[in-house]
C-alpha cells in the first residue's frame, strides 16, 4: 500500500471531520470544497479519471459555490436562533462504530467476480462507435439512466422554484470588469466546447462543459455586458431543451435502430455529440437558474 495513498486517505478523513464540526457555515463550506478537490485526487488514484473531473467540477466546484452562497445568507440570522454556532451534539457514535464494523466485515468477505463489467464494456465498445468507455456507458449502453438523471436536475430547478421571475435591473456596466470579462468569456466558451468535443474520445462531457459555460455566463452577468443574452438564458425553453432533444432522438431510435435510445449504425458519434451539446446548454441554464435565485 502506497504511503501517499494512506496519507491522502487520512487527510480526507480529517477534512471531513473538520468540515462537519466547523463552527460556522462558511468554514464548513470552504472545508467541503477542499475535501472535494482532494477527493478528486483519490479518484485519480483509483483509476477513475472521469469521476475525478466530475468531482472537482461538480462536487467541489458547483456544490461548494451553492453552499457558500447559502452560508452567506445563514450568517445573517439572529443569534438566538442560529444553531450553527452551537457545537453539534455528539452523533450516536457507538451505533455508528458498530454499523461501520459490520459493513467492514461484510466488505472483507466480498470477492468480486473479476473484471466482468469491464470486459463486457470493452467487448461491446467497438460496436458502440464511441471510443471512450465511460462515455459509451453513459450515453449508449445506459443512456436511459442519463436521461432520467437530467430529468432529476430539471426537477431540482422546478422544485426549488428557482426560476427567477425577473431580474429587475441587470448589474451596472462595469468597464474594468467588462474589459477582463471580454476576453475571459470567449475563452471559457472555447474550453466548454472542447470539453464537450473531447468527451467522445477521452474524459470530458456535457456536465463539465456546462459547468464551465455557466461560470462564463455568470461572469458576463456580473460585468453587466450582455443583458439580452442573459435574459435568453433565463427562458424556460432553454432549460428543457436538452431533455427534449434527448427524448426525441431516443424515440426516433425505435424507427432508425430498432430500439428506443438506440442509434443507427454510423450515426452514433454525431447523435451523441448533438445530444451532449443540447444537454450542455440546458444544464448551464439550470445551473444559472439555481444561482440566479434572489431573495424576494
Amino acid at each position: 500500500m502506497n504511503a501517499v495513498d494512506a496519507l491522502l486517505a487520512l487527510v480526507l478523513l480529517a477534512l471531513a471531520v473538520a468540515c462537519l464540526w466547523a463552527k460556522t457555515a462558511r468554514t464548513g463550506s470552504l472545508l467541503f470544497i477542499t475535501f472535494g478537490l482532494l477527493l478528486a485526487l483519490a479518484w485519480v488514484r483509483l483509476g477513475a479519471i472521469d469521476v475525478a473531473l466530475a468531482e472537482a467540477a461538480i462536487g467541489a466546484g458547483i456544490a461548494g459555490a451553492l453552499l457558500l452562497d447559502a452560508a452567506r445568507q445563514f450568517e445573517h440570522s439572529p443569534a438566538g436562533q442560529n444553531s450553527a454556532r452551537a457545537p453539534s451534539p455528539w452523533p450516536p457514535s457507538l451505533l455508528m462504530l458498530f454499523l461501520a464494523a459490520v459493513l467492514l466485515y461484510a466488505l472483507s468477505t466480498i470477492q468480486p467476480l473479476a473484471g466482468d463489467a469491464t470486459l463486457a464494456v470493452s467487448a461491446a465498445l467497438e460496436s458502440s462507435e464511441i471510443a471512450h468507455p465511460v462515455t459509451a456507458v453513459l450515453l449508449v449502453f445506459r443512456a436511459y439512466d442519463t436521461l432520467l438523471e437530467i430529468a432529476v436536475l430539471l426537477v431540482a430547478v422546478l422544485a426549488a422554484q428557482a426560476a427567477p421571475s425577473a431580474i429587475r435591473a441587470s448589474p451596472k456596466y462595469d468597464p474594468a470588469l467588462a474589459a477582463v470579462v471580454g476576453w475571459m468569456v470567449p475563452i471559457a466558451v472555447l474550453v466548454a466546447v472542447y470539453l464537450l468535443w473531447a468527451g467522445s474520445s477521452r474524459t470530458g462531457g456535457a456536465f463539465q462543459a456546462a459547468a464551465v459555460l455557466a461560470g462564463a455566463i455568470l461572469l458576463a452577468r456580473f460585468s453587466g455586458q450582455w443583458p439580452d443574452a442573459d435574459r435568453l438564458w433565463q427562458h424556460a425553453g432553454v432549460r428543457v431543451f436538452g431533455l427534449v432533444t434527448f427524448i426525441v432522438v431516443g424515440l426516433s431510435g425505435a424507427f432508425t435502430a430498432g430500439a428506443v435510445l438506440g442509434y443507427p449504425a454510423g450515426w452514433t458519434g454525431g447523435l451523441v455529440l448533438g445530444i451532449e451539446a443540447a444537454l450542455m446548454l440546458s444544464i448551464a441554464a439550470s445551473l444559472l437558474a439555481l444561482f440566479g435565485w434572489k431573495e424576494r
Partner: protein, 485 residues
C-alpha cells in the same frame, strides 16, 4: 415493434408533457394536458391489451451492459392504477387551482414528472435504474410538498427531503455491496448471481431499510404526516396514493427476486410486526387529530402498515405466497384509490368551510353531499367492508395468514378495522351535524367533487372485480412455484 416503442413511451411521454407544460402559457397548458392524458390512456390500454409479458431492451444492449424494462401483469396493473389516479387528480387540480395560476404553473410540470417517475419505477428491471427513478419520484414529491411556500409546508418538505436523502444513500450502499460482489445490475441476473452470505444479506437489509423509510413504515414514519397533511390537496392525494407506493413496489420487486435465494423469513416477520404496530399506532394517532387533513395523513401511516403484513407470508414454495401477493396488490390499489378520494373530498369540504378543523365540517352533508358521500365510500374501503377493494385486500390477508398457520394476525386485522372505523366515523360525524346558523360555505366547482367520487367508487366497489384480478395476477418471477388451485 409495439413493445419496443410502448414501454419506454410510458416514461418518455410524461417527461415530454412536463417539458411542454413548463414552457407553455396557461391557456395552452390546460388543453395540452388533456391531449397528454388521452395519449397516456391510449398507451396504457394498448399495453394491457397485449396479454403476454413484455420486455424491452433499451438501446438494444442486453443486460449486464444495458437496462431492461419489463411489463409483467403486476406492472400493467400498476400502470392502469396510476392512470386512474392521475386522471382524477388532474381533473381536480384544474378546479382547485382555478384561482391561483401561479401555483398551477408550478404544479403541472412537477405532476407530469412524477407520473414519469412512477411508470419508470414500475417498469424497470435494473437496480441502479430503480435508484434513479426513486430519486426522481422523491425529489419531485418534495417539490410538490413545498408548492405553497408556506413556512409549515417548507418545514415539512425539508423533513421529507432529509428522510429521502438518507434513504437514497442507504439504498446506494446496498447497491454498492450487490454490484460490487456480482458485477451485474439487472434484477433477474442479480438473483441468479447473488451468493447467500453476510454481504448479500446486509445489502438486502440496507435496501429494505431505505425503502421502508421512503414508504414511512413505523418507526420511520415521522416525516409523513406533516408532509402529506400540510401539502395542497391535489399533492396530498398524489403523495399518499402514489409516491409511497413507488418505494413499496420496488421493495416488493426486490423481495420477489431475492426471496428464493436469500433466507428472508426473519426479515419478513420483522417487517410484518412493524406493519402491525403501524396499523395500531397510526390509527390511534389518527383518532387524536383535530384537523381533517392530518387525520387522513395519519390514516396513511396506519394503512402503510397493512402493506407490510404480507411479508410474513411471502415465502417461495408455500401456498400462502400467491394469496399474500394478491393481498399486497389489492392493498396498493384499495388504499391508493381510497386515500386519494379521501384527500380530494376533504379538500372540497375544507374549501367550502374555509378552515381545517373538524368542527368546521358541520352541515356539510346537506351543502356538499357529493364530497361527503365520497368520503364515506372511501372510508368503507379503508375499514375493509365488502364489496370494497379494502375488504378484498384484508380478506386475502386473512386467508394467507390461515394458510400459513399464523393465527394471531386475524386478531390484528379485526383490531385494525375497528380502529379505522373509529377514526372514519369521527371524521364523518361532524358532516351530519346541523350547521350553526351563520356559516357561509364557499362555492366549490362540482368537478372537484366528481373526481373525488370517481376514485371513491373505484375503492368502494372495486372488490367486485377481485376474483378476476386475482386469477389474472401471478408472480412471474423465477423461483416462485405456480399458485395452487
Amino acid at each position: 415493434m409495439t413493445e419496443v416503442f410502448l414501454l419506454p413511451l410510458a416514461v418518455l411521454l410524461p417527461l415530454l408533457m412536463a417539458c411542454c407544460v413548463h414552457v407553455s402559457a396557461d391557456r395552452f397548458a390546460r388543453p395540452l394536458q388533456w391531449v397528454g392524458a388521452l395519449g397516456m390512456a391510449t398507451l396504457v390500454l394498448a399495453l394491457v391489451a397485449h396479454d403476454a409479458p413484455m420486455r424491452t431492451v433499451l438501446g438494444g444492449w442486453e443486460a449486464p451492459l444495458g437496462i431492461e424494462l419489463v411489463a409483467d401483469r403486476l406492472a400493467k396493473t400498476l400502470l392502469v392504477f396510476t392512470l386512474l389516479v392521475y386522471a382524477a387528480v388532474l381533473l381536480y387540480a384544474e378546479g382547485y387551482f382555478a384561482q391561483s395560476p401561479i401555483e398551477a404553473r408550478r404544479f403541472r410540470p412537477l405532476a407530469w414528472l412524477l407520473w414519469a417517475a412512477c411508470n419508470a419505477a414500475f417498469l424497470s428491471d435494473d437496480l441502479f435504474n430503480l435508484y434513479v427513478t426513486l430519486e426522481l419520484a422523491g425529489l419531485t414529491a418534495v417539490g410538490l410538498a413545498a408548492l405553497s411556500g408556506h413556512p409549515k409546508a417548507l418545514a415539512a418538505a425539508l423533513r421529507y427531503l432529509l428522510a429521502a436523502l438518507l434513504a437514497a444513500n442507504l439504498f446506494l450502499l446496498g447497491l454498492a455491496l450487490l454490484y460490487g460482489s456480482t458485477g451485474v445490475l439487472s434484477l433477474r441476473m442479480l438473483a441468479a448471481a447473488v451468493e447467500p452470505g453476510t454481504a448479500s444479506l446486509l445489502a438486502f437489509v440496507l435496501l429494505v431499510t431505505a425503502l421502508a423509510l421512503k414508504t414511512a413504515l413505523l418507526p420511520l414514519h415521522t416525516w409523513l404526516p406533516p408532509a402529506h397533511g400540510g401539502a395542497v390537496t391535489p399533492v396530498s392525494a398524489l403523495l399518499s396514493a402514489l409516491v409511497i407506493k413507488v418505494s413499496f413496489v420496488i421493495l416488493l420487486k426486490l423481495w420477489l427476486h431475492f426471496a428464493p435465494v436469500l433466507d428472508l423469513v426473519v426479515l419478513g416477520q420483522g417487517l410484518a410486526v412493524m406493519g402491525a404496530l403501524a396499523v395500531v399506532w397510526g390509527s390511534l394517532l389518527a383518532l387524536r387529530q383535530q384537523r381533517l387533513k392530518m387525520l387522513v395523513a395519519y390514516s396513511t401511516v396506519a394503512q402503510v402498515g397493512y402493506l407490510f403484513l404480507p411479508f410474513a407470508w411471502l415465502r417461495p414454495g408455500t401456498p400462502a405466497a400467491a394469496v399474500a401477493f394478491d393481498a399486497s396488490v389489492l392493498q396498493i390499489l384499495g388504499h391508493g384509490f381510497a386515500k386519494a378520494a379521501m384527500f380530494l373530498a376533504a379538500g372540497v369540504l375544507l374549501r367550502a368551510a374555509g378552515r381545517d378543523g373538524l368542527e368546521g365540517l358541520q352541515g356539510a352533508a346537506s351543502r356538499q353531499p357529493l364530497a361527503v358521500f365520497a368520503l364515506a365510500l372511501a372510508g368503507i374501503s379503508l375499514i375493509g367492508l365488502p364489496p370494497s377493494l379494502g375488504f378484498s385486500a384484508k380478506w386475502s390477508m386473512l386467508q394467507a395468514a390461515l394458510l400459513a398457520g399464523q393465527w394471531p394476525w386475524v386478531l390484528l386485522l379485526l383490531t385494525g378495522s375497528l380502529l379505522t372505523a373509529a377514526y372514519v366515523f369521527r371524521a364523518i360525524r361532524y358532516a351530519f351535524l346541523p350547521a350553526p346558523d351563520v356559516s357561509e360555505l364557499r362555492p366549490v366547482p362540482a368537478l372537484m367533487s366528481y373526481s373525488a367520487l370517481l376514485l371513491a367508487v373505484l375503492a368502494a366497489f372495486g372488490g367486485l372485480g377481485t376474483a378476476t384480478l386475482a386469477a389474472w395476477l401471478e408472480i412471474e418471477i423465477a423461483g416462485w412455484p405456480e399458485a395452487l388451485p
